[in-house]
Structure formats: C-alpha cells, structure tokens
C-alpha cells in the first residue's frame, strides 16, 4: 500500500521559475530518503508533501487523502494527526515545559495520552527533563524531544528535514538509528529529506532530486 504519492507535482514561487518534482510513491513502512543538493527544492518538496505549501500543479496523496485538495482547519488537523515533522533545528513553545509541549501537540488533534508521552520520553531518554523548560535542554536532548513530539500523535508518516546536517559522523549514525527505530515502533513511515550523502547507505528506497 502506498502511503505517500505525488503526481506531476510542481511549484512556483511568486515571480520565480517553476520547479518540477519527480513522481513519488512510497510504500507504507518503507523508510525513504529524498536526497539532493542544496537549492534543488528539497525543503519546498517537504512543505508540499506536508501541506504547508500548495502546489501550482499536481497532487499529493498522503494515506489515501489528496491533501492538495484540502485547506484550512481540516488540513491543519489532518497534518497534526497523520504527519510528524522534525526540523533541522528543534524549536518548541518556549513558555512550556517538555511534557507540556508534547501535550499541546496531542491536544491540537484532540486526544491527550499521558502514558504515550511518558513512554516516548523514556524511550528517548529525556524523561528526566520532562518538567524542564525546553530552553534548558542540550542540543542532543532538544533533538530527541523533537523526535518525541513528532511521534506523539502516532503519525503514519514522519518527515525529517536535514536531521543530521549539523552532526558529526558518530552522532549522525546515532540519530538515524534512533529515527528508524522509533518510526518502526510507532509503525510509521520515515521519510528523510537531506543533502547528507552519509545517509545513503541506510535507506533502500532513495529518491534523487536534481537541480
């Protein structure tokens, strides 16, 4: 079963050239790598896939839903409950603690599950920081909490945008292991968007973007 699929996808920035993307078809639970050089539109593709941007042409289908036809609150809610996102740098609602950040993420899509939050924090070894403000976390801890947040609604798909670009080899390996392991445990499909060639060997399904 295909979980992420695009067809004839293209996007144009206002006043810019149109970027065309190859058709994608990612099978459920088949972790994938979208790889390409800087400036080839990786992040744009990621935004299109997660419904943060609207394509100028073509369709994006996530878990059998054509999200390019959705808009407004239904799209926001769908994204919140079906897609987990991990950004290059971790950001949080600074006024809230680690646990509260995760609870807000759950609350926005309707169901609070404290048990799952505890499990995730435990698994990602940040349970001791559960009640700390996110600004007091180390960079590694921040990234782990960001992963926990991406998983907190048991999403079908996890998009990770350059999760390793700032890390050394050892940590890159660790983070990718962690991402794959956690995605597996949540039965989610991990899709990593990166220019980081080190990740090539870790994924069997690779999609190359050329600029």
């Amino acid at each position: 079963m295909t979980i992420v699929q695009t067809k004839d996808l293209s996007f144009a920035y206002p006043g810019g050239d149109e970027i065309q993307f190859p058709n994608l078809a990612v099978t459920d639970r088949e972790h994938s790598l979208i790889i390409g050089d800087s400036g080839c539109g990786k992040t744009t593709l990621l935004h299109l896939l997660s419904g943060l941007r609207r394509p100028s042409r073509g369709t994006v289908t996530i878990a059998d839903k054509d999200i390019s036809a959705m808009s407004g609150t239904p799209l926001d809610v769908f994204r919140g409950s079906t897609i987990g996102m991990i950004f290059q740098t971790a950001h949080f609602v600074r006024a809230l603690s680690v646990r509260e950040n995760l609870r807000v993420a759950q609350q926005l899509t309707g169901r609070i599950d404290d048990e799952l939050i505890n499990q995730l924090l435990e698994r990602l070894q940040v349970i001791h920081k559960a009640d700390a403000k996110t600004t007091t976390l180390s960079v590694g801890e921040q990234q782990r909490v960001a992963i926990a947040r991406a998983l907190v609604n048991s999403p079908r798909v996890i998009f990770a945008d350059e999760p390793t670009s700032a890390l050394d080899d050892a940590n890159t390996g660790r983070v990718i292991d962690l991402l794959i392991e956690q995605a597996d445990r949540q039965s989610a499909t991990l899709i990593v968007v990166t220019h980081d060639q080190r990740l090539k060997d870790r994924f069997t399904n690779r999609i190359s973007l050329s600029s």
């Binding site: 994204r79 950001h91 926005l108």
Partner: protein, 420 residues
C-alpha cells in the same frame, strides 16, 4: 492543558512587556472605578441626609456653608439667630410649614458634634432608640450609633463638652456640669449616627455659664438646677439664640418659595434650599471629576495601545512557535483565538487588579474621611457600573489584540519554517 493555562504561561513567559500593559491598565481601571465609588457614595451620603428639608434658616453668610454645617455637620456654622426672630416659624399652625426643627451647634465631645434639637429630629432622620431613652432634660444626651460605637460609651456615662468641633482638651467647658448619656440610637446610615443629641436649651446654659465665669471670674457655680425638662422652644421667653432652623413645607407652592426670598430680603437672617446648594456643590465637584475621568480614560486607552504593542512585538519572536503550532495541527482560527485570549486575559487581570486597588483605596479614603468628617464611606460595595467597566475593559483587550491576532493567523508557516 487547557487554553487558559496555555495563555497564562505564554503571558508569563514575557513578564516585562506584559507588566507594563498590566500596570497601565489597572491604573486606568482603578482610577475610573474609584471615581465611580466616590461619586456614588458622595451622592448617596448627601441625598440620604437631605431628610426632606425644604429650607434652612440661619445667620447670614455662605448659604452652602450653612447647609453643610446644619445638615451635614461638616464645616462651621455661619452664626446664631435669635429665637424671637424665628418664633413665627415654630408655630405648629403656620399655614406653610409642616414642621420646624431647631438646630443648635458649637460644641463637641471628642470630635463628635453636640446638637441641640427637639426630639422630632429622630423622625426626620428615621432614627429610633436602641437602648435607654430619648433626651428630655437639659444636659441629658442620646448618642448616635457611631458615637457610642467609636467612643465605647454606655448609658449613664458622664462627660464634659468642649467648645468648637475639634477634639481639644484646652477648650473643654470644665465649669459646666456633666452631660449624662441617657440613650443610644439604632444605626441609620445617615448623619444622625455621628451626633450627640441634647436639648437646644442646654447650649444656653453651657455658654451662659462660660460667659458668667468670664465676667465675674467666680470659682464655683452650682448649675445642677439646670437639669430640668425645658419648655418647648416656642414658649421660651427672652431673646436667646439657636443656630439654625430646618423647615419642611406643607406643599411646594408659590408662597413657600417666596418665603425664602422674603427672609433673605427682609430679615438679618438667610434662608437656603438644601437641594439647590447641594446641586451647586456637585456641579463644582463635577468639573474636577470630569478632568480626572478624562485622564483615566486616556490612561486606559494608552494601556490598550501598550497591550497592542506588547502582543504585536511578541509575535515577532513567536513567529516560529506559531508556525510550529500550525504544523502540529492548530488551525488559523485557533492561533487567532489564542492571541485574542491573551489580550482579553491581560485586560481581565488589569481590571481585577484595578478594581481591587480602587476598593482598597476607597476603604482607606473612607477611613480618613470618617475620621475627619464623620461620614461613612466604604470600599466594600460593588456597583453595577463596575460590570460595565469590565465589559469596556474586555472590549479594549479585544480591540488591542485584534490586529496582532490577525497577524498570527496569517503567519506564512512554510516561509517561517524554511528560514529556521
């Protein structure tokens, strides 16, 4: 976590900017609320003590001063009037006058005024006796509830009066016989609570003795024979004085209105209408109050502006957070509502602090005023106007947060996120 707590945490995360808005807002609201309270209670106090008095007669001077001293017992009397002059008004068969109430002033005991009057004053102010009995003889007194309460006096207590209205031992009438407390009145909420009541004639004996002593310098005079039931004032011989005469008319016809003019024109006395004088006083205070109110409204407006600025500038640093919330499933409406809620929350807290401060301030002012003027003001009341003030405060919070909320809802998430 509920929405209110989320709002509260977000506000608390930026305490300085919020504090400024809050301080300004509560200052403005507090000032308005305080003015409401003062206005209401001043009016209330003054109106309650009008006691249906249509005309006040007294010595020539400021009519407002005469009204304030004879009816409200603040300010000094304008002087005395001879009883011979007012005897016609005391006649129960007078065609225009329903009843007349003599008032003699000048002395006090520990700051409370001693008022010589007939027992009819109780009906005028709807007072009743709580314990003991009404004064009948000279040098017998009945205490208003506040007097008995503040001075902790009981029936049978004796005291010496002092000249003037200040609590000043040097002015004590030491050579005059003691006053004896015969009764205590129920609390009425009107000015009578603050008075020590006795017969008008008592004043004559007190001051007669003082004059005698000044004149002859004799050491001892036996005055106890003055403790007798005095004649009704109308039957008193000679030309002794009282301070004021309060009148109630049978009807408000042309002749009654004319009476004031004829007294002012044809006698050495003056007559004044309390309602008119009090309105004049209110008009005077009104202009000052207006200025203060404008000031208060300006402060509230400025604080609304500062809420706007605080929220708006917080958006800049929160743009990423807001985008994040969108990614996590928050719709535009929710972000809009979030910021609106922050504005409302600030306004509400500001209103609460302001109102509490105003009532606290009113209570303090009340204590000071009641020490100085023997009037009761309190901060422990709530006016319906204050609910309107709450509505106004929330409206300002709403308006101030509207544009920031719209900005928050319109945040370009993809743009913000890709900039990192």
């Amino acid at each position: 976590m509920n929405l209110l707590r989320f709002t509260w945490k977000n506000l608390r995360y930026r305490p300085l900017a919020m504090l400024l808005s809050l301080v300004l807002f509560s200052l403005g609201v507090g000032l308005i609320s305080l003015l409401f309270l003062l206005e209401d209670q001043l009016q209330d106090n003054f109106e309650k003590n009008l006691a249906g008095v249509d005309l006040v007669i007294g010595a020539k001077g400021s009519p407002l001063q005469m009204i304030l001293s004879s009816m409200y017992h603040i300010d000094a009397p304008t002087g005395n009037i001879p009883i011979s002059e007012i005897r016609p008004f005391l006649n129960p068969k007078h065609p225009l006058i329903e009843s007349a109430l003599p008032i003699s002033l000048g002395d006090s005991y520990r700051g409370f005024r001693i008022v010589g009057s007939s027992t009819e004053i109780l009906d005028w102010y709807e007072a009743s006796i709580a314990e003991g009995e009404i004064w009948t003889k000279n040098f017998d007194v009945t205490l208003g509830a506040a007097v008995a309460g503040t001075l902790d006096m009981k029936i049978g207590d004796r005291f010496k009066s002092s000249h003037g209205f200040l609590d000043d031992e040097d002015m004590a009438h030491d050579d005059v016989q003691d006053f004896v407390v015969r009764g205590i009145l129920n609390r009425t909420g009107s000015v009578i609570d603050q008075l020590i009541l006795t017969t008008p004639q008592t004043y004559w004996y007190v001051h007669e003795v003082s004059n005698e002593i000044d004149a002859t310098n004799s050491d001892h005079v036996d005055h106890d024979h003055h403790s007798e039931v005095p004649l009704p004032l109308i039957e008193e011989e000679g030309s002794r004085d009282i301070t004021n005469l309060l009148l109630r008319f049978r009807g408000h016809n042309f002749q009654a209105l004319n009476m004031q003019r004829s007294i002012n024109e044809n006698t050495d006395m003056q007559a004044a209408t309390p309602a008119i004088e009090i309105n004049r006083l209110f008009a005077l205070m009104d202009s000052g109050e207006k200025v203060l109110k404008i000031l208060a409204y300006v402060i509230v407006l400025v604080s609304g502006l500062s809420i706007f600025i605080a929220l708006f500038s917080s958006l800049r640093e929160r743009r990423y957070e807001l985008s994040l919330l969108r990614v996590m499933g928050a719709g535009k409406v929710r972000l809009f509502g979030m910021i609106i809620l922050e504005g409302l929350f600030l306004a509400f807290i500001g209103y609460l602090i302001g109102t509490v401060l105003a009532h606290l301030g009113m209570e303090i002012i009340g204590r000071i005023l009641s020490a100085d003027y023997r009037y009761s003001f309190t901060g422990i009341t709530f006016l319906t106007k204050e609910l309107w003030l709450l509505a106004g405060a929330l409206l300002i919070g709403l308006v101030a947060s509207f544009i920031p909320a719209q900005q928050a809802a319109q945040t370009d998430i993809a743009e913000t996120l890709s900039r990192g």
